[in-house]
């Protein structure tokens, strides 16, 4: 009983001139999930989002939203009819007022949700007659989010939805997202640098690095299987290559061997016991550490 995939990419490639932004990126976002998309700046997150919504053209590979090909102009219209988007820059029409841009956007969506629009107008405290250019960064973000949430869309694609927001505003945004998924048949796909936000509300994530997916899966599975294992030896920690699968990173310093494992911690512990460590510590790993260790260091 597989969930249909709302977003699916395979071997997605994109080059800008000589630079390869995406090198075969794979994504699988099931319906009804809140999917966190993590990666360093320049890893390819925004490029991927643009390709999914028809703002940029892939150089190779396949990208589908609702099963439709993201690269076709006609399918693109259908995709965008069912998707709410808010970009990283939260750029909106400076010269329109809040009320005007809401009316403008609503005209494109027959399934526009007046009830949600009212709710968020109140909750986000957006003054109807203020011009967009006179709004603060935080208010612009909330407006962009309101415009995305009120479309009556099945999918929300958000690039850095909480960036630049203070913790209270950020929490309001997360609450709006959570409430959306709860009550509608909706999927949320968002990229973020705020790992804490992702950990709080996402049930699935993908970490992308240099144009490729390096980690993907359910956050709960990762919490259950990722472990940091620390071995302390009597003398200097010995050289060791592990046969057991699941070793992501190892770090040797003095008497201590530190291993980040994506799974199979007990097999790794078994293997290391042959070297007679003095102590073995197995600890859970926070998403931030998984991120930092699986993403390449500065080239």
């Amino acid at each position: 009983m597989a969930d249909p995939l709302v977003i699916e990419t395979s071997d997605l490639r994109k080059r800008y001139g000589a630079a390869e932004a995406l090198r075969g990126l794979a994504l699988a976002v099931p319906k009804g999930s809140i999917f966190g998309f993590l990666g360093r700046n320049g890893a390819g997150k925004t490029t991927t989002i643009k390709i999914l919504l028809g703002m940029a053209h892939a150089s190779g590979g396949d990208a589908r939203v609702f099963g439709l090909p993201a690269g076709s102009p006609a399918a693109g219209v259908e995709i965008r009819r069912r998707t709410g988007f808010a970009g990283e820059e939260k750029d909106l029409y400076d010269y329109m007022t809040v009320a005007e841009i809401v009316r403008f956007t609503a005209a494109f969506y027959p399934r526009w949700r007046r009830d949600l629009e009212q709710r968020y107008r109140r909750a986000f405290d957006l003054p109807a007659d203020r011009k967009v250019k006179a709004l603060s960064r935080g208010m612009r973000t909330k407006l962009a989010l309101l415009l995305a949430l009120s479309r009556g869309a099945e999918l929300l694609v958000l690039d850095e939805p909480t960036s630049g927001l203070d913790p209270a505003a950020s929490e309001e945004v997360l609450q709006a997202l959570v409430s959306h998924v709860g009550s509608e048949e909706m999927t949320v796909f968002f990229s973020s640098h705020q790992i804490a936000d992702v950990e709080q509300i996402a049930d699935r994530i993908a970490i992308v690095d240099r144009g490729r997916t390096v980690v993907a899966g359910s956050l709960d599975d990762m919490r259950a299987s990722y472990r940091r294992i620390q071995f302390v030896f009597a003398g200097d920690a010995p050289e060791m290559t592990f046969r057991a699968p699941g070793v992501v990173r190892t770090h040797r310093q003095g008497r201590v061997w530190s291993v980040l494992a994506s799974g199979g911690a007990d097999a790794i512990v078994e293997e290391a016991r042959a070297l007679h460590p003095v102590s073995v510590d197995v600890m859970p790993v926070a998403l931030k550490d998984i991120f930092l260790e699986t993403v390449a260091a500065e080239d």
């Binding site: 703002m55 006609a74 219209v77 909106l92 010269y95 403008f104």
Partner: protein
């Protein structure tokens, strides 16, 4: 709503253009009596060369109202100012307009976006071409002259169709550059260059866009420059099509 957005984005250009063109047309009509009095004191000038020939002809024509309106208005003031505003109306658009990603996230194809912008812009340009022309007809009785509405509309139409080429050129250039200035200045440069070519070309030879714009053949012989108008319309369509193709293949 795309129409509304296009209007909001171009309304100041349109209104200022309309105001300037109306003033230009009105001023031209009102200064005619003065000019006529002045010219009656000036004998036929003896000037040599192609350029001299043009100047002589302009002066001769201006002795009479209909000729004056054609030489001063449709060949000069309205044509130059009009071309400038046709270009201005065609500039801007998705690449330089800001909030491109927001617009592109709407359920409309890029062709739709361009189509609406082009149609709205051309509608504005049509008004800029026709209304000042009609003003000439309306105001002529004030100075004791008459200028037929049909004549005014005919010239206005020529101005519109030929000017639409520059509008379309500006739209195409706007899909090539991400700022407002390069398309604008490039289009103006091209317009100026074509004007220069026409000035230097032999009088009766070849086709010139400014000749179509001024409705020269209609002025001289009452025959509308259908071939020129058709060619201009075709050029506009081709330029807009190229703009659409360009917009479609672009990455944002």
């Amino acid at each position: 709503m795309l129409w509304y957005k296009s209007w909001l984005e171009t309304r100041w250009r349109f209104l200022i253009g309309l105001a300037l063109l109306l003033c230009s047309a009105g001023a031209m009509v009102l200064t005619y009596p003065r000019l006529q009095a002045l010219l009656s004191h000036i004998p036929e000038p003896q000037l040599g060369g192609a350029l001299g020939e043009r100047v002589r002809e302009a002066i001769e024509l201006s002795r009479e109202y209909r000729g004056f309106v054609w030489a001063q208005g449709f060949s000069q003031n309205l044509a130059q100012l009009g071309t400038l505003f046709a270009v201005l109306l065609g500039t801007g658009g998705l690449l330089s307009g800001g909030a491109a990603l927001f617009t592109l996230s709407l359920p409309a194809t890029r062709r739709d976006l361009l189509r609406v912008r082009a149609a709205a812009g051309l509608a504005e340009w049509l008004l800029l071409a026709l209304v000042p022309s009609l003003l000439i007809s309306l105001m002529s009785p004030v100075i004791g002259e008459s200028y037929g509405v049909v004549t005014a509309l005919a010239h206005g139409l020529c101005l519109f169709v030929a000017g639409a080429v520059f509008f379309s050129l500006a739209m195409l250039l706007s899909t090539l550059f991400t700022d407002v200035w390069r398309p604008l200045l490039t289009a103006i440069a091209i317009a100026a260059f074509l004007a220069l070519l026409e000035q230097l070309a032999p009088r009766d030879g070849g086709w010139g866009i400014y000749r179509v714009m001024s409705g020269e053949s209609y002025f001289r012989s009452g025959a509308m420059p259908w071939a020129g108008l058709a060619a201009s319309a075709a050029a506009s369509v081709a330029l807009l099509y190229a703009a659409a193709v360009n917009l479609e293949r672009r990455d944002f």
